[in-house]
């Protein structure tokens, strides 16, 4: 227990030190606090995107899912993300980066409010982001609670661990803003990636090598080594989940904001080139540990399998590495939580309060952003204490919601006729229909998942709104889309 505590205190001290250094390097403007001065080069940008994107959904939820469904979980998730993330960064992320840079937007809601000359679009977008980001943050904190409870043998309770991670993340995020979160992400990403690879190699060796470990699975649970014919692996759910997981990442506001912080196009392109490779390195260990865990700890039911990774580590690794494992989960959680907290607070202060209340100075804006961080953290903690569902189930709900925003994010920057009515109709229709589908009120041909309904309704809503709503003033459209048109179509078509 002492060793585990020491390793984690060391990890937290390093994280806070990085946050403090970033704090000393800050300037006072909102641009610096919320976007780190838009100066992230390849390594920092890539690790910030990677660290932000990886949560306990991967470190705990995927081993938990593989425990039940076997090796097919890799193809179901990792493969399509490896293509979906770079593709959506090209189609949406890069145009958003170009436009945000030109108009000085700090948040996605701000960018699209400018594009449509409509504060209402910013408000609706903020509400949608808020509704889906809160449960996604909950999955992260649940992950810390579960890991701490298993790895410390109950010495650190679920509630204490959840509260501690929220407090520490608040500390360095509040002080250092985006620069702190991006710098700490480099360290945190290294910690959890290194741990996953090292732990898998160690556990495989402890099981007699990868061949022996796989032969044990083949002998007692051969179905775990085969893509199943039904359930989540049937063609309908498989294809619709692929759609969700491929499109959802660009729908995360905290990812889009990270792209705003890029120094140049080269940094974004390099991040795309590295993404598929890092997916392989991280996801293979996550799936293998779940499959091997099914043999070693049979009988876990439903969300109990979320604890299989810490259980495997606790069974096979020495205390120092167990400490590192907990630090790795903390790293994965904090690297996402900080970005989510910062993005939500920046949208509330700039896109809601900043527009509807008397105008703030930049200093007051930052101060208000910090206060809102605290409010969000308390709300997350309250929901975590309810432990509403498994990590995968909560994440699936959030991911589906983010996908309904993708038509607006894409069409807003690439379709001249898209307007405020189209954006609002798309978001409202997409989410209403998604809700109906989640409630089982819509048919499920080929057993498709609710996300397909939500995405379809969002596309139809965008078209209807654009067809019948008033056009965006040309000056506002050109102000935001101008740099995108210049790059993608050349200056002669942009004017």
């Amino acid at each position: 227990m002492t060793t585990i505590a020491l390793v984690n205190v060391g990890y937290l001290l390093i994280t806070l030190t990085i946050g403090a250094i970033a704090y000393r390097r800050r300037s006072l403007g909102a641009d610096d606090y919320f976007l780190g001065g838009r100066s992230a080069r390849t390594v920092v940008l890539f690790m910030a995107l990677f660290g932000t994107n990886v949560t306990p959904f991967v470190l705990l939820g995927i081993p938990g899912l593989s425990y039940h469904h076997g090796i097919g979980v890799f193809g179901l998730n990792a493969a399509i993300i490896a293509l979906g993330v770079p593709l959506t960064f090209y189609l949406i992320g890069y145009p958003a980066y170009l436009a945000a840079r030109r108009v000085g937007a700090l948040t996605p809601a701000e960018l699209y409010a400018e594009r449509f000359a409509s504060p209402a679009v910013g408000l609706v977008l903020f509400l949608a982001y808020f509704v889906y980001t809160l449960p996604y943050m909950v999955t992260a904190v649940i992950g810390v609670g579960l890991s701490a409870a298993v790895l410390t043998g109950g010495a650190l309770s679920f509630a204490a661990a959840a509260a501690a991670v929220l407090v520490i993340t608040l500390l360095y995020t509040t002080l250092g803003g985006m620069r702190a979160t991006m710098w700490t992400n480099v360290f945190q990403g290294t910690v959890f990636l290194g741990l996953m690879v090292a732990a898998t190699a160690w556990i495989a060796a402890d099981l007699g090598g990868p061949t022996a470990a796989m032969e044990r699975v083949a002998a007692s649970r051969p179905e775990l080594l085969v893509k199943a014919s039904g359930g989540a692996m049937a063609p309908g759910p498989w294809a619709s989940w692929g759609l969700a997981i491929a499109l959802t990442v660009i729908g995360f506001p905290h990812i889009l904001v990270r792209l705003f912080a890029a120094r140049d196009a080269t940094a974004i392109k390099n991040a795309c080139r590295l993404y598929p490779l890092i997916m392989i390195v991280l996801w293979i260990p996550a799936v293998l540990l779940g499959v091997w865990g099914a043999i070693e700890f049979p009988g876990l039911v439903a969300k109990a399998s979320d604890s299989i990774l810490p259980m495997m580590i606790e069974a096979h690794l020495p205390p120092a590495v167990m400490g590192l494992a907990l630090a790795a989960v903390l790293a994965a959680v904090m690297s996402t939580l900080d970005a989510q907290l910062l993005t939500l607070s920046s949208m509330l202060t700039r896109d809601v309060l900043g527009r509807y209340l008397p105008r703030f100075t930049e200093r007051r804006e930052v101060a208000l952003g910090r206060a809102f961080l605290l409010v969000i953290a308390v709300a997350v903690f309250a929901i975590v204490m309810l432990e509403p569902a498994s990590i995968f189930e909560i994440a699936a709900f959030a991911f589906s919601g983010y996908v309904t925003l993708v038509p607006v994010l894409y069409l807003g920057l690439r379709w001249r006729r898209m307007n405020a009515a189209g954006a609002i109709t798309s978001i409202v229709a997409g989410n209403l229909v998604l809700l109906l589908a989640w409630g089982g009120l819509l048919p499920k041909p080929w057993v498709i998942l609710p996300v397909v309904w939500g995405l379809g309704a969002a596309i139809v809503g965008a078209w209807l709104g654009a067809r019948f709503g008033p056009a965006t003033p040309e000056a506002a459209r050109r102000r935001v889309m101008g740099p995108v048109d210049e790059v993608f179509a050349g200056p002669e078509r942009s004017g």
Binding site: G29, A30, G37, R38, I71, G72, F74, G75, A78, A79, I80, A82, L83, P86, L87, Y90, L98, R101, R102, V103, G104, A105, L106, E110, A113, E114, F116, A117, P119, G209, T211, M214, P222, L225, V226, K227, A228, S229, P235, W238, G242, D264, A265, R273, P276, L277, M279, I280, I284, V287, R350, G354, R355, R359, P473, A475, A476, R479, P483, V487
Partner: protein, 78 residues
């Protein structure tokens, strides 16, 4: 791209065992690893040959253009 998407929904691999490749890699894992490597090649091609670079005057956010002087204070603000 379309071919990759079709190959991703690999209904023909459902229930297919085929033992362990090299003694420890399940067939389904090997299939999707290969798929990811092809996808990676597509991404490399896209970033080199398809993805347009930004204009030189868009690289520096501190350049004194009228637009980025007006941080956060754009047209939609009241």
């Amino acid at each position: 791209m379309l071919v990759l998407l079709v190959l991703h929904v690999d209904v023909w691999n459902q229930g297919r065992g085929d033992g362990l490749i090299l003694g420890f890699i399940p067939y389904d894992l090997a299939y999707h690893l290969l798929w990811m490597l092809v996808a990676w090649a597509v991404v490399i091609y896209m970033t080199i040959f398809v993805w347009p670079d930004e204009q030189v005057d868009q690289v520096d956010p501190t350049s004194p253009t009228p637009e980025n002087k007006e941080v956060g204070g754009g047209a939609a603000r009241p």
